[in-house]
Symmetry: C3
Subunit: 419 residues, 3 copies
């Protein structure tokens, strides 16, 4: 066996492992969202998150992969050619070299696992009042069409990549793409009943299973080793291991910053803020995880951890009801992380980034943001005017689980009201 084949095998192996790691992020998202919502809607949230994996992979097969990476495969026949796979396995057996580093199948599945996360991000923000079918229809279009087209601008060789816009693993192309749609969805849906009271006060609606939410955050971090580490697209020891270090240190610094900031602000040890701090650090480092020194990563994670504490409060005061803080984490920290590439992204804190790069980053953020806002509005508004977006008041009060699913999440556990 020659060294080229061996090298190909190693790179492919790492991306395959990353596939499994990114996959388990879907459990992470599910557990976090369920844990931070009320027990009466737990099944509904699980159902959405579980279906999204199926929808994500299947739409990515039908259209997403080809839309996102156009022209890679000569033999693909339009967008319905099953991602260029054709309808049968290749004549020449299975030696489907994609780009010298891994196989076509590996690339497809890694990217497909990413695709579904964009919709999952939205899922958290719209929890506890969106109609299930409305959400599923939205997901089909957003994951199957919008996400890959926007992604192609950067990762498929499109105009943003040609301009020098840099988004290593998706602060913009994944997290903010989900986050912008979350903003639109939250506004079109309106807040949960009883969240914003007539006297202007805001009622906290508390999650019902914090250990489950903690499990979700741990698994998201675990999965991020593949999300960022696999985005190196090879097993190159120096780059991948640097990425794991920057990713982990940003998360750690995010926790510390959110802990300190929320303690100073609220005089309590708010565990949901510690969770958010970790996720903020992770989202913040994602755009430049391969460019930063460990110290850069700590700085970026720390700033993201401070930002998230204020972001969650600001989103709430704007009466955008986001049960899990998805807009703060994925959109605001996604934007910050993308800008961070322009600020620190020149490999070392004393070699600061450039204003030119910062401008390019800002331009990319704006282009992607406008596109997401418009397209998600069109999709969601069309759904609102046809099948409807929101469950009935009665259903929302009694819980979506009984109405849409005919079941309780915890059949023989006594639950109290938590309106």
């Amino acid at each position: 066996m020659d060294t080229t084949t061996i090298n190909f095998t190693i790179n492919n192996l790492w991306i395959m492992i990353s596939i499994a790691l990114v996959f388990i992020m879907h459990l992470g998202f599910s557990a976090l969202e369920v844990g931070l919502a009320r027990s009466k809607n737990a099944i509904n949230i699980l159902f959405k998150n579980f279906m999204i994996v199926a929808i994500g992979l299947l739409t990515y097969t039908i259209s997403g992969f080809n839309l996102m990476y156009p022209g890679f495969e000569e033999s693909s026949i339009g967008i319905f050619s099953f991602s260029g796979f054709g309808l049968t396995l290749p004549e020449n057996g299975l030696t489907v070299d994609y780009n010298g580093s891994f196989t076509y199948w590996t690339d497809f599945l890694f990217q497909g696992m990413f695709a579904a996360t964009a919709a999952t991000i939205v899922s958290g923000a719209v929890a506890e009042r969106i109609k299930l079918n409305a959400f599923l229809i939205f997901s089909v279009f957003y994951v199957g069409v919008i996400y890959p087209i926007i992604g192609s601008w950067g990762w498929g060789g499109g105009f943003l990549s040609k301009m020098g816009f840099y988004d290593f693993a998706g602060s913009t192309f994944v997290h903010s793409v989900g986050g912008w749609a979350a903003v639109v969805a939250v506004i079109l849906l309106g807040p949960r009943l009883g969240k914003y009271l007539a006297d202007g006060s805001i009622k906290p609606i508390v999650g019902h299973n914090i250990p489950l939410a903690a499990l979700g955050v741990f698994l998201l971090w675990f999965g991020w080793f593949g999300f960022n580490g696999g985005s190196v697209l090879s097993a190159d020891p120096a780059t991948v291991s640097l990425v794991l270090v920057t990713t982990s240190l940003a998360a750690a610094a995010g926790i510390l910053a959110a802990f300190i900031t929320s303690y100073l602000k609220f005089k309590t040890y708010d565990i949901t803020m510690a969770f958010n701090g970790a996720l903020a650090g992770l989202v913040g480092i994602t755009a430049g995880a391969d460019l930063m020194s460990p110290l850069d990563a700590i700085i970026i994670g720390f700033i993201a951890g401070v930002i998230i504490v204020f972001a969650v409060g600001i989103v709430d005061r704007l009466k955008m009801d986001d049960p899990v803080g998805a807009i703060g984490v994925h959109l605001i920290c996604g934007v910050f992380g993308t800008l961070a590439v322009g600020i620190w992204g020149d490999k070392g804190v004393f070699n600061t980034g450039s204003f030119t790069q910062l401008g390019t980053q800002a331009f990319g953020i704006i282009v992607v943001g406008i596109t997401c806002l418009i397209t998600s509005f069109i999709i969601l508004f069309a759904i609102k005017k046809t099948v409807g977006l929101r469950v009935s008041e009665k259903e929302e009060k009694q819980g979506l689980d009984i109405f849409e699913h005919g079941m309780n999440a915890y059949e023989d556990i006594n639950l109290s009201d938590n309106d």
Copy 2:
């Protein structure tokens, strides 16, 4: 370091990672079964599933590995030679090349992790009324003797493999082996109290922790990357990545199919059916995961997802009380998946399988089925006549946790009756 050694190292690495992935399936099974049962039996179910890992690995050491792969190791001294390990480490140090792709230890542990799953499958079907010691005794014999002997017919170079019977990763040798025993056990045990009423109606007994069940399904899928991916027995990029793609697409299609079918049938969004759909797709693709095109995989997964919705209902109407749907998922979809090799298994949907192959597959299914039915009957009947199979009526009503384990699963959480 020469390329042969390096190649050996890579292949070995992938199988070792697969070991960890298959191991975590035991948590997946545990969580799924506990979540779908009642809280009063949660510890009992966990206890069974936890002990099975220990029993599986230890019996596989004592007898299983040597029974399943006879003749591979010259130095092995009969079935009690600790899997050919002998009693000390080899004289020549640790360079125990197994088959040119990985070490003897790696193979042993990968296969050992598989072995325990067969008993775990039974565990779900017999939950909430089997005596703990009865189940443990059954596991020792079924995992330590029956599973490896049957497996040797296909994977150990036995007569089924010589006939051309094809079962890539165990739709038959793992899933149906568990499933057939589940049928026997369920019949010998009888249904849970109150499940089938005097007036002929069937009372649904609802699981107590759906988020935990969801976690179980996610982890099973996660582990399946190693279950199927590791069954390639090398890190060959094309084959392993194809297997991951077919595995994931089958699961996704299974979810979609079960979602649609159960909605059409019951007019509700039944999350347990979505779970079953994923597992059905995974079991269905397992026999031919390396032979199918992505489109084949979608078709197979989709059909399995339709099958499972009807299968669960049929098993129930036959008054075989299977709390977690193990018979539908592992036996019926295992049989379907094995047949699917004969139908689509020629690499591409337009290159359909052959009738000859289909016949061979059916023959293997029947031979394995008869063997499992007879042997599991002998073991379980002997247990029934000696230590007894079923707990007392009083114990079943009050819950096995208090009686057999002296504990509640949720000590300070208020539980309601769920008979």
Copy 3:
């Protein structure tokens, strides 16, 4: 690409995967501790375990890594040089070869993930009554200074390694380092209210979520594949696969032994003892996982599984209130495992260890033990006299979650008193 680079890449890949596996052990510890404690303290326990990851990684960056592996990096400027990383990325790009097997970043992160576990072990023992800030301050000093200095004696080329003391993956340097501090902390803190009654009887305080605890144990075992497997510090097929086999068989034998022992002793199937048996076997094999034959591993695991049943009882009768059995598992089995190297550690049960080795092992245990007892006492006593160690009686009774965190772990689930 030359074979040296490829070999480097493979070794690095395995250690990176081990990083992810060791990371997820933190979720394992969290889930186990939360599950075995009362619901009123669940958030507090999660908070500690979550913060520890951040504190562990950040202190390891600032001081730990350089203290533990002194002299490896010429360019490091004292202990605050961010682990020898310097403040910018190296001039020569990212080719930071650490020791011919993996990169500097990989080593840092793998060791950093280990560091935090020492404090996590203490966390379990002090649960349900320690003040949050007291624990966090303790963690900073113990993980940032004490753990790495002690570790340097063995793993950083210090005097214990020169004497021939052998601790493969940390029965002593990780588990007993945590365990000794747990002893000191438990004594300084005193038992939970109502644990030891005036009449001399001991009141069991029962965990509130056994499925969560089970998840924790499964994940710890899962992570141990990286903890022990990664400690080979290469992907060498024979050694790593042997380590995975000995690790798994020791865990399995530990379960079996604890099951039998606790059944003989208590006439019940105590699931927490089965959990402890697995962990006892894992801790027990850790010091010599690369030296033992499979049969040795079974013997060691079995003995550890017997020990733990008695150890938990003895610790309790000494009125050291350790809610999760951390002292028994990590200290007592850690000591046993370290001694086991001297007893069996010569590759094969018939090639027994040597008295000389046994003496060296005992010497190392004593030196580390004394150091841990003194240093943890100094830190904890200083905290006790300043910020205080223990929450108020009122807070302990009502639960730490409401007082320190202003939240309930299960907001809309009805809980009963469990004092």
